[in-house]
Symmetry: C2
C-alpha cells in the first residue's frame, strides 16, 4: 500500500475543498500558506460562495473540477465530509487529507461519520490522511497543506506524527518533511515509514505516537527501515491521565506504557522520554561518522568540566580512554613537570604558557591520532570552535563532540551555526546520553563496522 | 570566621603580586581584566622587573607596598608562594588569593608547600582563598581577580565553586558573584555560604562541590542559609573515574556518592545531576511567586503537547487540575458542541473560530481565577508571549510557566528576553522537573504558605 501515499507528499495537483475567502493574519488560510510555500503544482480551490480566491479560479463543487487531481484537502463541517469523500473517490482523486475534526476522537456521531468514510475507502482505491489532520509539510517539494505557517527547512529529517502540533520542529530539530496522521483512519505509520525508507531526501525518521493498532506489522516495518535509517520515537500518553487525553485527541486507545516500551525495544528504534533530546540525537547522526568504539578522550580548559564529563562517561557506559605513551610524550612538554598528563587533558595552564589555540590544536590532533581513542569530547568556549573545526575536518573518521561552555545560549547557538557539521551540547550529560543512543544504533545496525572496541 | 571574607569580594585596595608585563589578547593579565571590569579601588601591581604596567606604578616586592591593603592576588611560581604569604601577613594584608597551582593537588612537594601556607594562616589573622583558585568575580562591586574575561552580569545569583571553570555561568544561568575555592586550603563553603546569606544582592546560591571536609558544619550552615535562600548543588566526581580526577584537580578526597546524596538531603539543598537544569530552576525562583499547591492547568494549541505535558505532570508528582464549573461554563461557548472542555484546554480550533489571542487570553484568565488551579502551564509559539504576559502580570500570585514551541532556539531565547519575568522551557518535562524542585523548596522552607493543596 505504501506506494500510494506519494500523492500526499508530492502532488502535482491539489484541490482545496472548503477553503475560506478570508485571508491575511489570523485567517488560517491553507491556500495562502500553500502559495507562500512556493508550491508550483496546480491548485483548485473549491468554495460554492466564491468565484476566485487570491487570484485562483474557484470551483463550486468537487463534480465541477476540470481534471483528475492527485490530492484533495478537505476542511468543511464534519456532517458533509463522508459525502464529499465519496465525490472525491468518484472523481478519481487519489488521496484526501481530512483536516476537519469531530470524528472518532469526539462523540458517537463522530464515530459514525468516520465509519462512513472507512466504507468509501474500503470500496475504492482512494487513500485518506486523517481525519483531524494538518496533512503534510514537504519543504523539499514546496508543498504544505498546513493551515498555520511552518518555516521551510531542508533538514533531512522526517516527522511522522499523530499530531500536527510538532510540524514546527522540536528544540534545535527542524523537519524537512512531516506527515500528520491525525486519527490515523487509513494512512498509518507503516505507510509513512515505508515511504520515507525509500526517500533519498530523508536520513532520519522521528515518530510521535499516541497509539499503534497493527503492532506486528509496525514492528516488522521498523525492524526493516531502521537498518538504513535511524528511527527515534516519542510516545504521548504514557501516563494514566495522558493516555485518557490521547483518547479525546485522536481517538487513540493507548495500551500500557510497559507494553509500548517492550515493543519499541523489539522494533530496535530509539525511544526517548523527552522531546528535548531529539535534536541532540539528530545532530549527532547528521554530523558524526559511524562509530562503535566507546573509549572517550576529554580535552578541557576547566578541571571541573573534565570531572563532570568523566561522571557522565561512566554513567552512560563509556570508558575514559587510556592515552597512548606516544600521545602523552608528544604533549608532555606543554605541562608543568609535576603534572600527571592523562585523560581528561586539562589544558588551561599549558595553554596560558604556550598559547591557548596552539596547545588545544596539538592536544586534539594527538588524541585524534591515538588508536586508544574512539571518541573525543572537546570542552571549549565559543571562540575555540574554529580551532577545533580546523583539526577535526582532517579526521573525518573519528567522532568529535563539543561541549560549549557559557551562559549565553543564543550567542553560542549563533556561533555554532557557523560550524554545523559539528554536534555541540550544552552539558556533558547531554553529550554522553546522545553518544550512547548513537553508539547503540551503530552497534545494532552496522555490524560490519564493529571492532576497535576494547571495552563494554 | 565568615565576616572576614568580605575583603575578598569587596576589597577597597588590591595588590597583584606577580602580575605580568604582557598584555592584550592571550596574555591572561589580571590587571588588564580588572581595569576593564571597572574596578574603582586602589590597585598595586607587584613585579620586580617593571616600573609600571598599563599605567600603574609597580612595586618591587610586598615589603615596599605603601599602605595596609585589603587583598593580595598571588600568581608566582609555587616555590616562593609560602614566603610571600608570610610577607603579606606581616604587612597586615587581610586576604590573599593564591592563583598559583601545584600544591595539594599535585605532588609531595606541593603538599609540603601548602602545609607551610597553612602554618602562616594558623599563626595569623590572614585568610587564604585557594591555592589553585581564580579567586573572585563580583559584578555588583566591579571586582574580578580572574585571569580570563568574564562577562559582567547583575544576576542575583552567586556561585561557590571548587573551580573557576564555571565563572562564565551554566547554560542560561549567569552569575552575579562567584568564589572559586580552589584547593579550599582555608576559605571554604561555610565561609562563603555565610557571606552570601547576608548579601542583599544575592537571592540564590549555586554550589559546585568536589569534596566537603567539615560535613557536620556544612550541613548546619546549609540548613540555616536555605531558610532564606535556595541552594542548588552539583557534585563533581560522583563516579569512580571522576572522583579520581577530582583528587588531582583540587586535591579533594571524595567520599562515596551515596554518602553525598544522603548529606545533601540532610542539608535540604537541591542536588542536581546536570548543570543543564540549573538555569531552569534559577529562572523559576527568580520569576515565580512562592507556591505550595500542585494542581496544574494546561493551555495548549496542540493536543499532543497537552498529552505529553500530562505525562510529565504525573511523572513529577503533580496533579492535573479539575477545572471548576464556572471556568468551563465561562469558556464553553468558544468550543464545538461535541468537544468536552477540560484540562488540558486545547484551544486551537476555538482560536481559529473566535480569534486566537482572544481565546488564549480568556482561557488563561479563567484558569488564573480558578480556585482549583495552583499552577498554569501555557504552551505557545513565541508570538503569543506578549498576550500571555499581559494577562499574567495581573495575577502575580499564581505561577505561570511557558513552554515555547518550535525548533529555532536562538529566536525563542531572543523573544523571551523581552519577557524575562516569565520562566520559559523548551519541553514539558523540563518545566515540570523544575516546578517539582521549586515546589519542594517552598513546602520545606515556607510552611506559612502551606494550604490550598488538595493533592499529594
Amino acid at each position: 500500500m505504501s506506494d500510494s501515499i506519494f500523492h500526499f507528499l508530492e502532488p502535482k495537483s491539489v484541490a482545496l475543498i472548503g477553503v475560506s475567502q478570508k485571508t491575511g493574519k489570523g485567517s488560517f488560510n491553507i491556500l495562502e500558506n500553500l502559495t507562500k510555500f512556493g508550491y508550483t503544482g496546480k491548485i483548485f480551490p473549491v468554495n460554492p460562495n466564491a468565484n476566485e480566491i487570491l487570484g485562483f479560479k474557484t470551483y463550486k463543487d468537487v463534480q465541477s473540477l476540470p481534471e483528475a487531481i492527485d490530492l484533495a484537502v478537505i476542511m468543511i463541517r464534519r456532517d458533509i465530509v463522508p459525502e464529499i469523500v465519496e465525490r472525491c473517490a468518484e472523481k478519481g482523486i487519489k488521496g484526501v487529507i481530512i483536516v476537519t475534526e469531530g470524528f472518532a476522537e469526539a462523540d458517537d456521531k463522530g464515530r459514525f461519520l468516520q465509519g462512513k468514510i472507512d466504507e468509501t475507502v474500503s470500496k475504492n482505491s482512494i487513500r485518506i490522511l486523517g481525519p483531524n489532520s494538518m496533512g503534510v509539510v514537504n519543504s523539499f517539494d514546496n508543498f504544505s497543506s498546513a493551515f498555520i505557517h511552518i518555516p521551510k527547512n531542508l533538514a533531512p529529517v522526517a516527522l511522522i506524527s499523530q499530531s500536527g502540533g510538532f510540524f514546527e520542529g522540536f528544540p534545535d530539530c527542524p523537519f524537512g518533511k512531516g506527515i500528520d496522521l491525525g486519527n490515523t483512519g487509513d494512512v498509518d505509520f507503516i505507510d509513512a515509514l515505508s515511504y520515507f525508507e525509500k526517500d533519498d531526501d530523508i536520513r532520519i525518521i522521528i515518530l510521535y505516537i499516541e497509539s499503534i493498532t497493527d503492532a506486528p506489522e509496525f514492528v516488522k516495518t521498523c525492524q526493516r527501515v531502521v537498518r538504513s535509517k535511524p528511527i527515534i520515537a516519542i510516545k504521548g500518553g504514557m501516563s494514566k491521565s495522558g493516555s485518557k487525553a490521547a483518547a479525546s485527541h485522536t481517538g487513540s486507545l493507548s495500551a500500557k506504557d510497559w507494553l509500548y516500551r517492550a515493543m519499541f525495544r523489539q522494533c530496535k528504534i530509539l525511544h526517548v522520554d523527552s522531546i528535548n533530546v531529539i535534536g541532540d540525537i539528530v545532530k549527532a547522526f547528521l554530523s558524526l561518522p559511524p562509530f562503535t568504539g566507546n573509549r572517550v578522550a576529554v580535552i578541557t580548559p576547566t578541571g571541573a568540566g573534565g570531572i563532570i564529563t568523566l561522571d557522565s562517561i561512566e554513567n552512560y557506559g563509556f570508558q575514559p580512554a587510556v592515552l597512548s605513551k606516544k600521545t602523552i610524550n608528544g604533549i608532555a612538554h606543554f605541562f608543568q613537570p609535576w603534572t600527571t598528563v592523562g585523560n581528561p587533558v586539562d589544558i588551561l595552564s599549558a595553554g596560558m604558557a604556550h598559547g591557548y589555540k596552539n596547545v588545544y590544536s596539538k592536544v586534539l590532533e594527538s588524541c585524534l591520532n591515538d588508536k586508544n581513542v574512539d571518541i573525543v569530547i572537546a570542552i571549549c568556549g565559543a571562540y575555540t570552535l574554529k580551532t577545533i573545526k580546523d583539526i577535526t575536518i582532517r579526521h573525518p573518521e573519528k567522532p568529535v563532540v563539543v561541549w560549549v561552555l557559557g551562559a549565553d545560549q543564543s550567542f553560542i547557538i549563533e556561533k555554532t551555526k557557523l560550524f554545523n557539521f559539528m554536534p555541540y551540547y550544552v552539558s556533558p550529560d547531554r553529550a554522553l546520553y546522545t553518544l550512547r543512543a548513537v553508539l547503540d544504533y551503530y552497534r545494532q545496525n552496522e555490524p560490519s563496522l564493529m571492532g576497535g572496541d576494547k571495552g563494554a
